[in-house]
Subunit: 221 residues, 8 copies
């Protein structure tokens, strides 16, 4: 499982130090929410950089390397209610793809246009997704509606979309916590931990994995 | 339009005084959210009562009498997401029926069971509702979904259902304010003002009403 | 009814894609809350633009085209409590005018100067408004006071005006939800959905509309 | 000025001890928000009581005795928006009357019935009130409207009336803090400190008072 | 998967009607958070009851019957930080056991006594749990610490334990949403939906299930 | 009494229009919280300005002219707890001085240095202030402590000072509302309305003012 | 150091089990916030009790026995702002006395009566307290004022006193967190952990304690 | 003890005045949270500066000079959960070092990596710290876990790290207030007051200090 480092809140020097140490250990890692300065320093040639790969339009940086874990075959479905939720959903997709997991997506399928949503779900169901990651801002109703239509577990991730009272994802978060379907919830815009959780869902069951050392769980710092 | 008196927060003596004054003026009125003591005093024979009629299982008391307004013919649709929302929805229905307005209802049509909702909407649409009053607690998604499926205006009324963070209707209220459909919102459990607003929607347009004195709008005190 | 696209939160590329698709379908649409970059790209010649029309001093962009709906004749009244609320109120007016609905406005009629408000209401009443859209920031009292003086339904829209506790429209929103008059409420600065709701109030009643395909309700994405 | 003791939160024994000590010092005092047990113990014969006088239907107890201060002649106006606000307003009136200050009241004059309010203000203005104490729950608009109509300073006191979001006086408090008129605000249901402040407004100006020892200000404990 | 009915907020008559309908359909169901009156009416002989089985010391009622789903073999670990969290954790265990899923529990293993926690985890790991349900009130740190020590996915469920600021589970909920480990979160005391989610984690993967009709997901109403 | 216009939230064009109208009417006015652009347009020669006078280091602009009201002789005391509160306190002082009212100030007299506060109060008391305006951020304790030491009424104005939980004046506001002394409270940084209220306290009592037309109260828009 | 068990939220059976286990281990313990039923079962002869000692008027139960720790000689000062804060302060005193630590108290010394506070502090200073535990509800100013007058560290503990906005200790907590003096803060009514912290302050410094096994810190469960 | 001046919120001129006055009195002081402009004016040669020393990468400025207090020998342990918390923790360390107190630190020891934390604690324990200052953002669990492993008192300081609900240190603060260990809490990012409190813990006990004048406590302004 990849080590994930939150860029936001760290100085360029701190982040560079962490990445160098990880490279020295020879392991793969992801930097989430890098600032512009961090991206310049770590992913661009101009910055004397460390040649990290840029994913999800710059919302993630990847230090290539082995993760260690292995996964059951299977698909993760990623849905986004509106166009504004796409950027966050793409973070999750990038993490999963980096881990070698197959992703099927459906964007712009909000609950105010149910027929489109249903068409999209029919398409997705052909891939028999093992788990659904559903991103929605504003009123955050999409994961609840999806959970009523699909047989697999559903994760709701609120996005920081919307203005006024409950804006910035606050209404969506609370609505998902109140869902009348049994959906699991992550914090606002928390695409990366949600993707890691989905990966754990697909990880080979510990019982069946051939012993050896315990895989430690994904970690963010 | 009826005068509406909020029972909660008034002493029995205060409420009795108000009702007597209204009776003396010979006008109809509604008492909303009467306490048990108020109901005993105003609606039961035992309490030397004023013979108010009990509506909506005691959540409303009616002082019969003329309201004055007149309405276009037309139907109001009342939907409730879950069984727990029914009692609040019934308050709205009782107000509308007392005003002589036709109501069609559909209860237990939450968004986690979309197929049932759609069946209910097909039935309701046969009555060509002029406006929809949609009650929902928890994640409060129902009015948004309904607004995506029907051509008439939709009012969302959150109900004080649900526990934990956002419980008691708080998540539902905020979600409705954030709706990606243009729904109008009332406060938690505010069935009576929502019903009065729906009645105003059906009131004969002021332009066409044959002059005379201005009808004053519904009022609560 | 117009499709409404929230500009805020979308990249210029995303928004351009949506507008092009709508133009291809030949339908009218509105872009609300466009960012400066979006306005440049979509409405100015310099940006190789799509020639959208700028409304309400740039707070709305219009993709001209047919909407489909039709409306009863009738006037919508738009009131703003203070000078600072005017910009938001003008968004609503622009939407309604774009839909071909007649609007009468009265600005700077806050409750601290009641005599002015009453003079304005007397003037507006001559047009027999079918519905009132009332914008107010700070303490948000105007819709409640208006609802006590006019016979038509009243919509309250809080504006993000005011500093300190309850500033940014929060006090106004909560006060409107607590109103002792039966006013319907929209979120802070939500002029566009409120205008769409008012348009629905004026839409020809579904019963009387000569069948054909169901008009779908206004939608924002 | 009277010593004011908050009953709520003290044991009967604690309160009895405080009252006995004050009686021994021979000064007047008020007990606000006494519990039922405290009232029984201090104001009823059955409880071997201390013979405090019951004011405002039991919301205040008075230990008769001299206060020390003296006041300019003048009237305090006390307004209450709804019937449910009366009990709190009566607390303020009782405090002022106990201090020998003249009070003129007008109850049930909410902003949804402006004509009644204006009639009441015309009556009150004949007494040239020096200051207005205005009680309102729900949307709390009354003090703002009053401040636009009278020449004297206005104090707003929210009352714990109303249900749903912003209920219990929270919307009213925030709305008063956001008022577009310069009103001074007290906490929810804080009738007693508001009355003491009004009394201070009427206290003989310190400059003109013939020296001697400093009058200490009213104090609650 | 079982139908789950929230008892709280429904009248005895409503709940009895729902249970009778389910029994007529011959399916299994669970009633969560039954009130005392509901328990008497539905689970005790005295109430002319429907002979529901009482689980988790009365926090759940079970209508026996087939669920339909089938599960991979595997264990769910249930941890509770303190003695006060046990009752909520037992709800989850009861649901899982009713579904025929194996559960291993460890209670009173809060983070202030790490050595005990580690001993418990060593014991649990022998059963190779597929997923961990971790209940904690107060500061809600336990799921984060557990996620750092075990290889399987971790669900955090805050419990309504603790007084003062952040009490009643509010601090725990927010802390879990902020966790630096990728844990999925449910609302305060939401043991039943968390258990259903865990069951879905163990459900036979849809791909491998031999076609037929789509299993609909668990639903609460 | 002066008309007060809130600059913040108005366009330069709107503000210029208002000021020109007021100048045409020949009355004095104040602009509070002008933005930098507004100051340039209205108070600097470069902007083709309207020659407003700059007060309180640019936090107020004054349109000179007659106010109409007249005041009892008397002093207003203005206190500020810390250096950071001074700028807000100076706004109040500027308003009062503009109205011709005498002000005595004492700054940097926070409750953590009581001896300095007491020395300052002894100095101020020599001027027999009629009313105290007390500005404090952070924990907001100063008005409570002052009210325990002086005989005149005390107004508390929280300032937007302090970081972390309760920062920006929120803790100070709530603490003042909870004060165990009868202090009147204004919103965070609301120096101007507090100063207007203090001026009203000093206004010649309406009873004694020689009739004529009613002075209307101060108004902000 | 004593084990402390929070009574609230545990069943009588659970609590009895914990107490028996502790008794079997022969160690001392405290039960905080016992419910009435717990007190009856554990501390009264009628309940076949375990003979715990009742402290602080029933807010604490003590299981006598050795604690293990040892303390420097020294006094802890306990202050309470108002009579309503005394019960909480007495909890802290009871814990300290049970640990064999000397306590000096001063009650009813709120900041609105500074002279009394100063007299009390002069008396307390004669005992050279090593640390001050200061309890205050409402505006919570007392710890800040005390910290400005004494040389030792000050702990602020808000109490759940006061009504309206910020009531129940919320204003006091936030004010203490915003204090302009370096006071350490505990949660509302958290007298027991504050007392344990004070005891740790007086514990013999680990360096000087003659080795052996590590004393584990106080713990609540 | 040092005087501490909060830079944030003061003008450069105000701050320069305060520093000059302190220099004239010949005492040492610290400026916390200086703005960039303040740093330039007070600590850089370019600004005609006052030659303050820059500490903690510019988060503190030091006016060298005697503090007056004296301390027991002893070590303060400073822990930071993540790399992002280091800058705040370094503020505390700088204050303590400036006071001549020995500090041992351990950074990047979050609870998701317990083994690293335990290794760090074993190293720190060799220095027998008298008190622990523990900095953590996000879920804020570290101080609780540390308090379960060390014998000395523990102070929790939340840091403004983390996004979404509870971000910016809000979850960490509330979690620390709810801790099941008796930890004392400071406001978000309040490293300086926490360090001053730790210094007071190490100050020579007042009893043993050889009389003379009372040391006044640390103060911030």
């Amino acid at each position: 499982m990849p080590e994930v480092i939150l860029g936001e809140g760290k100085s360029v020097a701190q982040l560079r130090g962490i990445v160098r140490a990880l490279r020295a250990r020879g392991v793969g890692a992801l930097v989430s929410r890098p600032t512009r300065a961090q991206r310049r320093a770590l992913a661009s040639p101009a910055g004397g950089n460390l040649r990290l790969r840029t994913l999800a339009e710059g919302r993630l940086l990847q230090l290539p390397g082995p993760w260690g874990g292995s996964f059951r075959r299977g698909t993760v479905a990623v849905l986004a209610a509106g166009t504004s939720d796409v950027a966050v959903a793409e973070e999750a997709r990038a993490v999963l793809v980096a881990l070698g997991i197959r992703v099927e997506g459906a964007y712009d399928v909000g609950v105010a246009g149910l027929h489109r949503l249903m068409r999209a779900l029919r398409r997705l169901e052909r891939h028999h997704p093992e788990i659904y990651l559903v991103f929605a801002g504003r009123e955050g109703a999409l994961p609840t509606v999806v959970a009523g239509l699909v047989p697999a577990p559903v994760i709701g991730i609120p996005t920081s979309v919307g203005y006024g009272r409950g804006g910035g994802g606050r209404a969506a978060l609370t609505a998902m916590l109140q869902s009348c379907a049994p959906i699991a919830v992550f914090n606002i815009d928390a695409a990366v931990p949600a993707a890691l959780f989905a990966a754990q869902h697909l990880a080979r069951s510990p019982r069946r994995s051939s012993g050896g050392r315990r895989r430690s769980p994904p970690r963010r710092r």
